[in-house]
């Protein structure tokens, strides 16, 4: 929860940068995606398509790097702690979160008053963050599947047949963008609901004590 310190050990500089890259790419992807979906003003299609591709490649490389980095970059694994360990610990189940998933849900639905004990990332948070990884790759896959030069490759045409053609794939691609948008909204909201300290550390790399 929020009544704790936000130290740089929680978000080492390299992850602040990858987070920035994610944010910028997501904004570019969403904006250019909406434009490609419906060109709401004229004169931008070529740029929008270029932007969509560049941002996609960057975010995929960034994500892949982020996964690898999890195995050697050390970060805090507990709330408000300067004690560091390999980042992958944050990805795996942690003792502090055991039996807490249901309690976390109860907390957010106001069925309990006290905040729940958790590691740096709570159970729900961890699941949501982990889910974005395959979703991002899947989004790239659906994008390639509706992209002329690649759609006839076996790996993509198989997927097209499975979902019933490019139109359905396009709808899936479109809806998944909304999944990312909703994720981002909830993510920003929950991160900053108590105070803006989490934003200070992730964007400005500015530490705050409780």
């Amino acid at each position: 929860m929020s009544g704790h310190a936000h130290y740089r050990e929680a978000h080492p500089l390299v992850f602040v940068i990858t987070h920035y890259i994610n944010l910028i790419c997501m904004i570019m992807l969403a904006f250019s995606g909406f434009y490609i979906h419906f060109p709401f003003f004229n004169g931008f299609m070529g740029v929008a398509r270029g932007m969509h591709f560049v941002a996609m490649y960057v975010i995929i490389i960034n994500l892949t790097y982020r996964i690898i980095a999890a195995f050697f970059v050390k970060t805090a694994t507990q709330l408000g702690s300067r004690e560091v360990d390999t980042d992958i610990k944050n990805w795996l189940p942690q003792e502090e979160n055991k039996h807490q998933l249901f309690e976390t849900v109860k907390y957010y639905l106001f069925f309990r008053k006290e905040g729940v004990i958790s590691a740096k990332y709570g159970s729900l948070q961890k699941i949501a963050y982990l889910a974005t990884i395959p979703l991002t790759y899947l989004q790239a896959y659906t994008g390639f599947a509706i992209y002329g030069p690649t759609m006839n490759m076996g790996i993509f045409s198989g997927g097209l047949d499975m979902v019933g053609g490019p139109m359905n794939m396009r709808i899936i691609h479109y809806f998944m963008m909304w999944v990312f948008i909703v994720f981002t909204m909830i993510h920003a909201y929950l991160a900053n609901i108590y105070n803006l300290n989490p934003s200070k550390i992730i964007f400005l790399w500015k530490e705050t004590d409780h």
């Binding site: 929020s2 009544g3 004169g43 070529g46 055991k98 039996h99 907390y107 002329g148 139109m167 479109y174």
Partner: protein
């Protein structure tokens, strides 16, 4: 060597005053259409000239509007008279044959017995009303019986036009015609004759000629060779009438790329220059028709390259958005035609709802929920330093109470 070859065709050409040079030029264009190198032209010429007899063909109309027949009359090179008189011997061709009735039926029976022919099938396969949705010949012979008869002993069947490929507009909801395609029906009847599919409504005649020449030239009328030597794309679909998965064979040179990719207006798409109103100043500038519903990005045919009516124009050039007539189940899938594909209804469970609306609603609901939740958090006094924290997990407390201690 090819230059020395002489045959029936060569004599015919000489009679018609067609020079060797014209002929080779034509063979070059055939080669280009087939995706072969133009250096193949002499071989093509040799194959055509060496042919001793015209290839017998039966042109069968199923549930058709005769539009594909009309279309073959608009072929560019060679012209239709050449096809009908010098290439193929159409022993049955309802719309143009001299004879009728019993004699016409006899032409079919005789040819099927002798074999060595191709079938060009136009129109949908009509299974409705127990096959009585289409009959021809006595006594009340159904179109289905005719198709089975002619396909059983043919070298190959060329299904021309979207109707013959998968039922075309006739299969659109909720027509009780029971329309399906040639490939689906032959599969159901376990007739193994290869079916070449040439969709669009009507068929583009240049594509029929390309296939016929391919069969005559590369393959010497040998169908196995023909199938092996042509590059194909296959399209799978679930046929409602036969209740089976059908795999459609189409020549890749014609159906491998989207209209959008080859569209002369593509540059305007990339520049973001669009026609917002049909027949407007923007149309006069030749801008992209994507916003008024063009299905070019979703339709895989060679229309912008081959063009129509002896190559004078094609749909987009004349100012109309592509309606995707070369796609499968094209009316149900592509209408409303003036609506962009991505605006189109999801259909089924969601009724008339569009993806954009769904997305906006989902986003809006999420935003509203977060605001409401935030107010709740504020009311609960959690904002600021956060809630008072538990000192032990609820699970452990319960367990502790039960067992009398933590861990």
């Amino acid at each position: 060597m090819a230059q020395e070859a002489h045959g029936a065709l060569h004599d015919l050409l000489e009679v018609r005053g067609v020079t060797r040079r014209d002929f080779l030029k034509y063979c070059g264009s055939v080669a280009a259409m087939l995706g072969l190198s133009e250096t193949m032209a002499p071989q093509i010429a040799a194959a055509l000239e060496g042919a001793q007899k015209l290839l017998p063909a039966l042109w069968i109309n199923g549930g058709s509007c005769t539009g594909c027949t009309e279309s073959i009359a608009q072929v560019d090179s060679p012209d239709v008279a050449t096809i009908v008189l010098d290439y193929l011997s159409f022993e049955y061709f309802e719309t143009i044959m001299a004879t009728a009735g019993t004699q016409a039926e006899h032409n079919i029976t005789k040819r099927v017995e002798e074999g060595g022919y191709i079938v060009i099938y136009e129109g949908s396969v009509m299974t409705g009303f127990e096959g009585r949705a289409q009959t021809a010949g006595t006594p009340d012979k159904t179109g289905l019986a005719i198709l089975e008869e002619v396909a059983s002993n043919a070298l190959a069947v060329i299904a021309v036009g979207s109707c013959a490929v998968d039922g075309g507009w006739v299969k659109a909801h909720p027509n009780p015609a029971g329309a399906t395609g040639v490939a689906a029906w032959l599969q159901k009847q376990n007739i193994k004759t290869p079916v070449v599919n040439l969709p669009t409504c009507p068929v583009n005649p240049e594509w029929i000629v390309a296939m016929v020449v391919q069969l005559l030239l590369v393959a010497d009328r040998d169908v196995d060779k023909f199938v092996a030597a042509t590059k194909w794309v296959t399209r799978e679909y679930a046929d409602e009438v036969t209740d089976a998965s059908v795999s459609l064979l189409m020549p890749a040179g014609i159906y491998g790329q989207s209209i959008h990719d080859n569209c002369p207006r593509r540059g305007h798409f990339e520049n973001g220059e669009f026609v917002d109103v049909l027949g407007s100043e923007q149309e006069a500038m030749g801008y992209c028709l994507y916003k008024v519903g063009c299905k070019g990005p979703q339709t895989f045919t060679q229309c912008p390259v081959t063009r129509w009516n002896r190559r004078v124009s094609w749909c987009v050039e004349a100012g109309s958005p592509c309606i995707g007539c070369g796609g499968l189940n094209w009316v149900d899938n592509n209408a409303p035609f003036l609506m962009r594909m991505s605006d189109m209804q999801l259909g089924g469970a969601l009724g008339n709802v569009q993806p954009g609306t769904v997305g906006a609603v989902v986003g809006g609901v999420a935003a509203a929920a977060l605001v409401a939740h935030g107010l709740g958090m504020k009311a609960a006094g959690r904002v600021g330093d956060g809630p008072p924290m538990e000192t032990a997990k609820a699970y452990d407390r319960k367990r502790g109470a039960k067992k009398g201690g933590d861990k």
